[in-house]
Symmetry: C2
Subunit: 482 residues, 2 copies
């Protein structure tokens, strides 16, 4: 690649301050939303997402906090008519800079749109606003004996709309699929400010082109999701995890193959490599063997009987060749284990204070190469590297650890990430399984798709957003030339 | 609706015979595919689909039968450069006229593209050509202990590519989802004749806009699917059906609610209403009670143990209020039951020699209204009407029976279908859950979507097919004005 790596910190360098534009914009938004629906200027909390550890922070003219979809549509209509960029924002937990306003405009925060419009537990369905927190949705379903399987990290902070905008996954996507698999209907605002509704409380619909799936994962660049109908399923009676440690990634990946080869329909199949284990092992609920250099976590769910049967089989299959097996059965110990797993990302960050963490996907038979390749790429760039993630889905959180205060490390990590994308594509995989393209992976899709497919991506963007105002600079198929 | 009903038979009225164009087209195709890859003119078998019972039959200049995706791309490239319409064709089992060449051009039959490129049973995945028959795929998976759940009717004839092009469902979509839920990657030819590949043997991918989902269900109007990567799952050890008869649709629909309300995760939940039972009851494996006016079929699958447990619960829940319950346990009797269910459509057609059969979807709590509304609409148009289908998915095969030799009946049935679409939309549903829009439902989407969504549908078509040559006249969002 002949292009130079742009320092992320330069994004905010063009800060024009609270210019006349900003004042005008805030005033207009107030006429739509009332003064308590607008935060003039760009309050700090709305200018970054989880990429902040990579120094990515933007600038906004104002933050709009609508409480109803109609108001949100009016905000978009005004912005679209006045050439003002629009950056939708959920919980701000993204890892790709998707919610970061790169150079002004209006951030639309969805957090005040958090109504549950309808919940029909007896029909296994719910309609709710995009601003509902993922964890709230999951709890609500559980209280009625139902289950919303997608479980991306940061569930207390992240919102349904953000999950939809990135088509978020999580450990249990292995059995249950990603967020989009559970969305049966969407309400969205599209340019120049129209509310549309596609699908509904419907389990099938092949009438029009699949605008729903097109909006899902589009990272706010085609429209802003305001509400969704979701399908739910009866909650499994039990979910029993099994963790197993191995002496090497090779042995661990062989165990992954054994799970599939034995036809074990586990709900989740997670891993941590040696570096990720180093960063997190002290917090693991039980002592780990000294030689542990790889860990798998499988989850056996179903009826009490079914989960117990599968659990026993998983213990046997994962136990073969393992250094140790930990298979907690009581609710508290199980919750403790998953809390530990959820903390992996933070544990890794804590090692050196910062990280560049990606989310490549590879075919399952290339998993070992991707895990080993991540470490090797780090070595070439003189950075400690590790990975963890969703082994069963071939989805790695490949991570390069940086000390943000050390000059050049972020830049080296960015170069390493470029090599990582090349590796993913060389292995027949994808540059993103969960986080999306956002801003930080701009241009990387050129490695993955043929020019004809890139052209279609760009033409679709033009159809939905002829002025290029919806989350500008994000999810670009090609490296920006201007 | 102020528009008049077009007689379907008029479609073929402009037959220009084997004109110079046809000869030229056939010659050019032969230079690409060889003489055995081209059928000059339009052999009868390629001019109609399952809508033939509604008198829909078209005209083609030639039929191309490529054996490789590259050749198919070359055919498309030549046609696109010479403004020749292109009509892809799978097994020809569609109910919407989607594979019917309306007015000349080249029919591309996929049946010679039937290779299994790669099958990795130990990794639960397969890549195969679009022309593989659905039943072959399902058998192939089964032989390795795996399961491809989508089970649309006519599985011996229908092809994977057609299933993808219509996002086909079937009884077991209730638990397992429709075809698209199993497609992880697509190879397709897009205009003006480029092969693209999106996704792969990947269980997650959020890199680009979801071109894969956009192509799925697009009925050959955005591109031609040539091959697909599918994910599979371990086959359930057992699947035990339960059928129950009720005195009325109301009681039957109450039983559907009970299945969901009791949290029974059945794999399929089918129904036949009174009229569908009349047409099929003589062939049912056991005698049915005289007062039976509604039947439900549920399927309990899973491990031996799990299926047996669920089976017992389903018998209890469906049995409450039923006139009779039939729950076969041996493989032969189970196969006989599903064969009978598969024959429902033919049995209904046999009543009067023809039918207009649609596939509306409604929210589950409106199922009874849709079932009763179908009969009522028939009555208003002096046509016997009935429905059967996928109760759990709220997906009805609402059908108006016609004697094709009686003048005016087809036209009355078409008018009835228009009212049916209006009913589906009034109930918050969709005009199509399985068959797609094809030609016969052209314009019906106007009832369902807001103008802004219709505009997006049309603009997407323009992006993929600027010359309007890919399956022209099909899946139109709006009623054609020319």
């Amino acid at each position: 690649m002949g292009r130079s790596i742009v320092h992320h910190a330069t994004v905010a360098a063009t800060d024009r301050g609270l210019a006349t534009d900003s004042v005008l914009i805030a005033r207009e938004l107030e006429s739509i939303l009332g003064s308590d629906g607008v935060l003039p200027g760009g309050p700090r909390g709305y200018l970054a997402d989880a990429t902040e550890s990579r120094s990515l922070r933007g600038r906004a003219d104002a933050v709009a906090l609508p409480t109803h979809a109609d108001d949100l549509a009016r905000v978009v209509r005004w912005c679209y008519a006045h050439d003002v960029p629009i950056v939708p924002r959920g919980g701000g937990t993204g890892f790709a800079g998707g919610a970061v306003p790169l150079d002004g405009g209006v951030v639309i925060g969805l957090e005040r749109m958090h109504s549950v419009h309808r919940f029909d537990p007896e029909l296994w369905r719910i309609r709710l606003d995009a601003g509902v927190a993922t964890a709230d949705l999951r709890r609500r379903a559980r209280e009625s004996g139902l289950y919303f399987p997608p479980d991306p990290g940061a569930a207390e902070q992240s919102q349904l709309g953000g999950n939809i905008a990135t088509n978020a996954g999580g450990p249990h996507a292995f059995k249950y699929g990603v967020t989009g698999a559970w969305v049966t209907g969407l309400q969205a605002v599209v340019a120049p400010g129209e509310l549309i509704e596609v699908g509904g409380p419907l389990r099938k619909d092949v009438a029009g082109y699949d605008l729903k799936s097109l909006l899902i994962g589009s990272e706010g660049t085609l429209g802003i999701v305001t509400a969704a109908w979701l399908r739910l399923i009866p909650a499994p009676e039990a979910a029993l995890p099994v963790t197993a440690c191995y002496a090497s990634a090779r042995e661990g990946c062989a165990a992954v193959d054994s799970v599939l080869g034995n036809g074990l329909g586990v709900a989740a199949l997670e891993y941590l490599d040696a570096g990720a284990l180093v960063a997190t092992r002290d917090a693991f609920p039980v002592p780990l063997p000294a030689g542990a250099a790889f860990m798998l976590i499988a989850d056996a769910d179903g009826s009490e009987q079914e989960a117990a049967r599968l659990h026993a089989e998983v213990i046997e299959v994962l136990g073969d060749g393992a250094l140790s097996v930990h298979a907690p059965r009581d609710a508290r110990a199980i919750a403790e284990l998953w809390r530990w797993r959820d903390g992996a990302s933070i544990g890794v960050t804590a090692q050196r204070g910062g990280k560049v963490s990606e989310d490549i996907v590879v075919p399952l038979d290339r998993l070992l190469e991707a895990i080993e390749g991540t470490v090797e790429i780090g070595r070439r760039h003189r950075l400690p590297a590790c990975s963890w993630g969703h082994a069963g889905d071939g989805n790695l959180h490949s991570t390069f650890l940086i000390a943000p205060e050390n000059p050049g490390e972020l830049e080296r990590a960015e170069r390493a990430a470029e090599e990582l994308f090349a590796l993913a594509c060389a292995l027949g995989g994808s540059i993103s399984g969960e986080h999306g393209i956002g801003w930080v992976k701009r241009g990387a899709l050129e490695r993955q798709w043929a020019p004809a497919a890139l052209d279609l991506h760009e033409a679709i963007k033009d159809v939905f957003d002829p002025k290029g105002l919806l989350n500008p600079g994000k999810k670009l198929a090609r490296w920006p030339t201007t």
